[in-house]
Structure formats: C-alpha cells, structure tokens
Symmetry: C2
Subunit: 343 residues, 2 copies
DNA sequence: TTGTAGGCGTTATCAA
DNA sequence: TTGATAACGCCTACAA
C-alpha cells in the first residue's frame, strides 16, 4: 500500500556507513573523500533517493516556498505578475503558493495567516480594495521573521519593500498625449480612490492639465469602478451635459472599453470626435478593430523585479542588514488608434 | 534577531504538563479533561502559539499542499482553471503551488520532480505540447503515493483521473451552427495534433460535416498553430484558392482573430461573406466591435471539478479504493455576430 | 575522513 | 486522564 521513500538512513545501512557520511556526500560537503562520495551518490541514484524537503525545512527553518496574495488570479495583470515571480524564483529552487483575497480585507488577512502558518520564506501581496488594518500587517512584520513585499497595490509601511509602476507618470503621459493630439476637454474616469494606484493616476492627470495650462475641472473627474458597464453608464450621463468632453482618460481598460462602446452607440467617431485612452494594456485593447490606446504596466517585469528584491534581501540578511526598497518601474504608453487624431 | 515561535514544549513547561497533554488539548483529543484542555488552549492563545505545519507534515506525511503544472499561468484559460482549483481546495485547508512548463516536456518533467520532492498531496497537470514520455509518468504513479490528475490536456494513463471538456461536442456544435447558418464550404484551422483536445475538435468538425451530408475535404483542414499571425497567414493563402471557403471554424480564438483581421483586410464582410467561429471564449471575443462566436470551456468550473475529484479521492482512499475518474464537462457554444448570418 | 548523537516540533504508542 | 518516549528525515557540532 504505502510506498515508502528511501531515506539517507536506508542508504547508510546498505553501504555500511553512517547517515552523516551519506548526508555529507549528498550535500557536496568538503570534508568527505571523493571515493565514498561517488559510492553514496550512485547508490542514492540507484535507490531512487529523493531528499525530504519537509525534514530539511524543519531543520533549517527555510521552506524554500513563497506565497503570493492577489485579489483574483485570473486577470491578465495579476497572473502576469505571478508568472514573473515564478520565473524569477523557480530557478533558485523556490516554489510559489498562490492565494486569492477576492478583493476583501478579511479574506486577505486569513490568507496571510495561512501563509505565515505554512512558514513561507516571503509573502508578496497586492492588497485588496478595502484593506485598512495596517496595524495587523505591522504586527506581522515585528513579530515574525517573514518578510512581506508589496507590489502594485501597496501601502507605505516601514520595513516593507514595494514594487510599483509610476502611475503618476503613466497617467501624466497619457493625458499629455491627448493634449498634444489636440483634445481640450479631457475627462478622467478614476478608479477606487482607496487604492494609491488610482490616486496617483488621478494626480498624474491633474499635473498634466496644469502643466499645459488647461483648467482642472472638478466635474470632469468621474469616480467610476473598473467595469465595462460603469464605463458605458458614465459616458452616457456625461453626454447629456451642456459642455461635452472631447476625450476620456480612463484609469481602467475595461471602463475605456465601455466608453468606446457607448461612443459608438451615440454615433460618434473615435478618435475624431472623442479620444479614448485606458490603463493596463489589457490584451483586448490591441485586438480591437479600433485599437485602444493604453498604459502598459509591464506586469511580468514587475513580478520578476519583486522576486529579485526578495532574493537580494536574503543576501543582505547575511550581513544582518534589512533594507527597505521602494522600486518604481516605468510604465509604457501604448499609442493606438483610439487617441491618434493627428496624422 | 531570530524571533522564535512558541512550541507545544514551551506551553508544557509553562503549565507543568507534558507535551503529549498539550498536543491532545490542542487537537481535541477525546482522552483529556475539560479543565486541562481549557488551561492549555488559553495559554496557547496567550503565548500566540501557531502550530508548526512542517513538523506536522513530517510526522503525518501530508503537506496539505497540491501542485499545479500548466504551460503558462498568464493565459485566461489556465489562470481560470487555477482559480477554480484554489477556490475548491482552499476552504479545505490546502495550499496551491503553481508551476509553469513553458509548454516544454523537459521542463514539465523537472517541475513534476520538484513537486514530488516537495511532497505535495496531489499534482494537477495540463500537459505540454510535446509531452510523449508517458513511461515516466506511469513510473511516478507506480512508485509514489502522489496522485496525478490531468485536466484539459491529458493522455490516457491507467490510474490517472482526467477532467476535460467534450471538445468533440464543442467542435461539432460550432460546425453544425455554421451549417445551419447556411455556410457550405467550411474550413477548419486545427491546432497541434499532438494534443488530444485538438484531435477531438477536428473529429467533431468532421462528424458534423458528415452528419449533414457535406463533403469532408482534406484541403479544408489546415494545420495552424494558435497565434493571430498564423490565422492571418492561413487565411491569406486560403483566399488565393480557386474554390474559396465561406466559413472558418478555428480551434483557437487567437487564430480566429487573425482570420477576422485578414478578412477585413481583404475587404470582405463578416458574417455575410465569411462566417467565423473560434474556440475558448477568450475575453476579447465578446469585446470586439464585431464580436466573435466561440466555444466556452468553463475553465473555472473545470478547476473546481478537478479539485473536487482530488477531495473525493481522499475519502475513497480511506476505504482502500482508488477510483480512476474520467469526467467530461459540457462546453457552451457562444453565438455572436461573426457567425450569425440569418436573422 | 568518518561516526555519534542531539534536535527541529509534532503526533502516537505504551505505561502509569 | 496524564506522562515519557519514540519516531518522522534531515543536518551538524563534536568526537574519534
């Protein structure tokens, strides 16, 4: 029934040597003769020996496993970041556990506890929309040895490294691009302002307007969620205004898509009558017959950098230093048809 | 420096009881007095005790962790399946480790070994395009206790449960739908024929033609990959033929997208001149201005069912039975503009 | 160069 | 009802 794995003890018996010798041979320990080493290694191969990671982890305190908590795994952005983390860490022998918070702070806390419980070596988090209990995370930092790293959706907490993109800059460039294309009355569809990323996109929009001497109009900043539906509805009510916009910079691609659909519905032309630009560079934006301009967040790169920050922190740890890094990646403006009015 | 976790040993010392007592109290063991149990539980709470999963796993042989191997994690299909697996298993205390094979059999084998090595309780795999070494997997099955479960991209191996969708049926319905819309000369862009899913889509296409007394023409079955580019090129060369097709059933949505782009380029109309239908129900298919018909694979459901098959197998295992399940989910045809010629 | 033995934190068996 | 102790499989001082 139960198929037992061979252990170093089994090998030691077979070879009439001690388990210590076997362990040393298998770990390339310097203090062992070449001859016995080969003997052991061959026997291990023959007996199909597989090191028991559990025992090793129990002894060493390192599980060679990291955890990632994201709102949902099946979105282009988060799955791409996870891909980056996996590809950066996998070659170094780390496994990646994924958890979903369903964009809920309570579930997020539970997942965090589970990962702590699993004794992962590091936890990567992109926080949920309604996360506000920073004390809890601070407590984790101060009472455990498990480093936490924030990516994209972060909060500023001492001791926590963060990897983000420059949302302000991305939004600034997007808005500036619209201005240069000759759009004058640019509205911004902002996302959930509890998240820094959306705050920054909003501030980038405002900065660009100011720098180009355009008025910042309160009513032109419309608080939407990130769905197609909300884009449609917001555009609908916007078009009932006396003074109509000639461009929309949306903090979300899905909302931008909704905008495009409604514009078409209103029998207006993109980009001639109205310019549109989104954020995230979702795959569909480039597939559309009328492709949608967007801001690429380089998610795979973000994942790789996040993984690398962890790897570097291990090195640093040997010298007893803990460094808090704040890395900011540069977004990439993708100009497509929906915002290219000039030839 | 090192923040040590409290262990049951710490609690036992504090309370002047044995570790065995502490362990029993914490595990709701029947043979313990209510009084001491409360004493221990409260002290554990006070000392912020967290059970060490590693030690428990080492003792019990169960890690409460499963592994998933997919070609790439950042695709809609695979990330959705993983979401389903996570959501089914997480409530039962399981963690999910994700691995990418990069659609390569060698890497896949390495990842499989890593997971075995990590002593996960189950491994879910959607095999890579060029996986052919079935002996290796059979060996894993026969020499370890770790169950393997295939989803979507499978091979038939005794002892391995599989969860797939009925690709034949999905393809059949898609083709039949085209026929009913009045298309007569339907071409099929098939995927990699090393994978069963694509074989089945091809056979579904053929069956539908036969059942409706349409000729199965060898030249109408075009072996493409799954990229936009290949869709464009295939369509291009197809249009140089004397006898031109009036519909394309593509085994991939991306190829279908390429087809649509090329059709537009050729100044032809969809669906009037040519009907198009893809497979997978990628998000973009419904977002397009001219939405693309497709076959939904219900990936989240596939993940949940996969997870459930594992959970059930644990129950069965208590009775010493190992059941090999072959579950087939029903695909959902999504009819959209690209194939709706009739009103 | 090799062996002995203790410990990582739990659970389970056997006594008491 | 409780306690002592032996595993689980590995690594690593310390001895030899």
């Amino acid at each position: 029934m139960a198929k037992k794995n061979t252990t170093i003890y089994d090998i030691s018996k077979k070879l009439n040597v001690s388990v210590a010798t076997v362990s040393r041979a298998l770990n390339n320990h310097p203090r062992i003769s070449q001859a016995t080493k080969e003997l052991v290694v061959n026997m291990a191969m023959e007996m199909d020996y597989k090191q028991n990671n559990l025992a090793k982890a129990l002894k060493s305190g390192e599980t060679k496993t990291v955890g990632v908590i994201v709102p949902y795994i099946n979105t282009n952005f988060f799955s791409s970041v996870i891909r980056g983390i996996e590809e950066e860490l996998s070659p170094h022998g780390y496994r990646v556990i994924i958890c979903q918070s369903h964009d809920d702070a309570d579930i997020e806390k539970k997942q965090l506890n589970t990962l702590l419980h699993t004794q992962v070596d590091c936890i990567f988090i992109s926080i949920s929309k309604n996360t506000s209990d920073l004390e809890y995370i601070k407590k984790v930092i101060s009472t455990t040895n498990t480093p936490i790293i924030f990516f994209d959706r972060k909060k500023d907490i001492p001791g926590i490294s963060t990897i983000t993109i420059d949302d302000h800059k991305g939004a600034y460039q997007a808005t500036e691009h619209l201005i240069k294309e000759g759009y004058k009355n640019i509205c911004h569809f902002s996302g959930d302002q509890n998240l820094e990323i959306y705050q920054n996109r909003l501030s980038g929009y405002i900065s660009a307007l100011k720098d180009h001497n355009l008025p910042v109009i309160e009513d032109n900043i419309i608080n939407t969620g990130s769905s197609i539906e909300e884009g449609i509805n917001a555009m609908k009510s916007l078009w009932k205004r006396k003074v109509k916009p000639d461009a929309i910079f949306s903090a979300s691609d899905f909302t931008a898509l909704g905008v495009c659909k409604e514009i078409k519905n209103l029998k207006l032309r993109i980009p001639e009558d109205i310019g549109v630009i989104g954020f995230s560079n979702e795959p569909f934006t480039q597939f559309m017959e009328l492709s949608i301009s967007s801001v690429d967040q380089t998610p795979v790169m973000m994942g790789k950098v996040s993984g690398n920050v962890f790897l570097e922190s291990i090195k640093d740890n040997f010298s007893g230093i803990t460094i808090e890094k704040k890395l900011v990646l540069t977004p990439m403006l993708q100009i497509r048809q929906s915002s290219s009015r000039k030839k």
